[in-house]
Subunit: 397 residues, 2 copies
């Protein structure tokens, strides 16, 4: 990622680091544990805004409502709850999502169309709107510039740590929080991310930028190959830094921010013990490279081998060959941590001690050359452990 090598300064504050943003997280009772489960993010001024949303056919009610509200590329607030996804809840779910936006708008003195709504948690249960509205009131009353950490906690489901980051670029800041790669009891998998900046930028440009950056970060991670009904990334740009940016100026820091948040999601992947970077090069084109990387990343045989610290390149070539049935073994090379283990359809002798060291690391780099073009792609994933099974099997309805 080019963005990461650029010199940005890390700053405190998460989504509240850029000028104009306040946040709060509260516990309104949607989670039985009593942990924080509702947050509000609010901007002093109307923001240029953009979003990218799940491609799942069964988009949850809050996704539908947020897509509508982002139609004009303007937002002033986000309201999000955990503990209930408000997905597969029909007409009533849609009404509830709209009511969340209206309640937040009422508390904040803005219009409902200026509010994005997000939910994450159980699929197929109606929201308890009394709790939700009480939570929105509380959160609106406790908004502060120091509230980003609470807000990041309030969107957690099976996440084991809150995920936020912020940094300062040339004259402006970007901040963000995310949750995900967690499936909550009993029915869910969702990735949410909310990003802020005080850079001055037009909604149309912001939207293009977000799409490009999300495609290289959030769209490059996979824990189990499942696309949730609730996935959403929303960005709000307050412009309060006064610094007008061209696309590329914002793209760098935004790429660094989203790259960091996306990696945090994978690191917190359910049951994950290793962070694995899969780089495919020499594909026919970038699309093919990405498909090949995903095929390897989503193979349960590869993932369990990674859990076992096994440099099992046989499973890697099996996954490649299954996903690209016309691939010629002659041009293929597989490397773990820089050590070539297979090339041109034949095994290579590798020093076992060196390989064992590479595979026992919490970060494993798997590189694959396909030998038939200039396409390349990188995907970030994690291993498949006993704990993945425990987390997803032991919850009962």
């Amino acid at each position: 990622m080019k963005g990461e090598s650029m010199a940005f300064t890390e700053v405190e504050g998460g989504v509240c680091a850029p000028s104009g943003f306040m946040a709060a997280g509260v516990a309104c009772g949607l989670k039985e544990s009593g942990k924080p489960d509702l947050c509000v993010l609010h901007s002093e001024v109307v923001c240029a805004a953009a979003g990218v949303f799940t491609t799942n056919a069964f988009r949850a009610a809050p996704v539908v409502v947020s897509m509508e509200h982002l139609g004009e590329g303007r937002l002033r607030a986000v309201v999000a709850n955990s503990g209930n996804a408000n997905a597969w809840t029909g007409r009533r779910g849609l009404e509830d999502a709209r009511e969340m936006a209206e309640a937040a708008a009422g508390e904040l003195g803005i219009t409902a169309r200026e509010v994005a709504v997000a939910s994450t948690g159980v699929i197929g249960c109606y929201l308890d709107m009394e709790k939700v509205k009480r939570g929105i009131s509380q959160a609106a009353a406790s908004l502060s510039r120091e509230g980003a950490g609470q807000a990041a906690e309030a969107i957690m489901t099976t996440d084991t740590f809150p995920k936020q980051w912020s940094l300062e670029a040339d004259g402006f800041r970007v901040g963000g929080m995310a949750k995900g790669a967690g499936m909550i009891s009993p029915r869910l998998a969702t990735m949410l991310a909310f990003l802020t900046t005080d850079a001055l930028v037009e909604p149309g440009e912001l939207s293009n930028l977000l799409r490009r950056v999300a495609d290289r970060t959030f769209n490059r991670i996979t824990v189990d190959g499942c696309t949730s009904t609730n996935d959403m990334v929303v960005i709000m740009a307050s412009g309060l830094s006064g610094r007008r940016v061209r696309g590329e100026e914002l793209e760098g820091p935004l790429l660094a921010l989203c790259s960091r948040l996306a990696r945090l999601i994978v690191e917190d992947g359910e049951g994950a013990t290793r962070f694995v970077t899969i780089r495919v090069r020499e594909a026919a084109d970038d699309r093919e490279a990405e498909a090949a990387a995903r095929a390897v990343a989503d193979s349960p045989l590869v993932k369990t081998a990674l859990f076992g610290g096994d440099a099992n390149w046989g499973r890697v070539v099996q996954a490649l060959g299954a996903s690209l049935p016309d691939l010629d073994a002659a041009g293929v090379e597989v490397r773990f941590g820089g050590l070539a283990v297979a090339r041109g359809g034949e095994p290579l002798g590798v020093e076992e001690g060196a390989l064992r060291e590479v595979m026992s690391s919490p970060r494993v780099d798997l590189e694959i050359d396909l030998g038939r073009g200039g396409g390349e792609a990188e995907v970030w994933t994690c291993d498949l452990s006993y704990d993945y099974v425990r987390i997803n099997a032991e919850y009962h309805t």
Copy 2:
């Protein structure tokens, strides 16, 4: 499956039940455990023969050789080893596979082109041809009409039981053995099946029939969505019953046989605790139905929920919606064991005790209506348990 409701008589004998076939399984030392690892199946007469093979780009050497040898639709023998897949072994692997056919042909007094070769086991290791040739000698010397059970054992890898069956139809018999849904230490996933019949049938017709039947049986099972480099189904028809069959007459018993063997593979799926039948109906066409059924069957979230006995329809609709992004929730219904749990984008209240009973069974039926056409498909799969992770993570290279 229509074939299963027809009245065929189960008979003893496996691949040796039809007239003209002998088999043997021996231990030649490829498996460190000292268990049987090589088998020969031999016909008294030249057989009409056909095969279906893996679509993986990296077809193992024995697959390449068997495809060549089946070019004329005639075979007299199969030689197969476990413990080493002879895959990703380059030119030397090809020479070894040809040498296996030649050695078997020499022992049996036939030509090498009349021998199909199969291997299953570790990917990326060269065969110890001394052991293999000694094994072929031994097996050829101990061929018998009672050898089917030994042969079925000799192709096992992580299989926990041998898989064979045979039955008598109107004037002829069919028999078969299979292995699979097991990945052997350290690098493999392979499904092999060898079928025999004494029906009189032309090679061309046999080939069409095998393709049709395999598509409805072996191609409808999935343990972990991985397509091996070594998969192969081969059928040999000796004609010794003297009974000339038309396609449909053979198709019924063959479908029953392959259906049984395919189900046995899923039942023996690595770590499997439940056999799950996924039926999709009302799809736009059969192809869409199959894709949807596979998306659900291969979802690790669905599979872990099944392991946990959780009627987690939220994960089922998530998988459906992710695989068919234009699907309308209005027409969708999901049933576990006949109990409707979700319909038209809204949850349904279901009696929990009844649902718990359905989900705690070792056989679970999951039915999905898509509400947009007449396409249908059935896929057989198993759950994802701790043991799947153990089996595939705890072996080290």
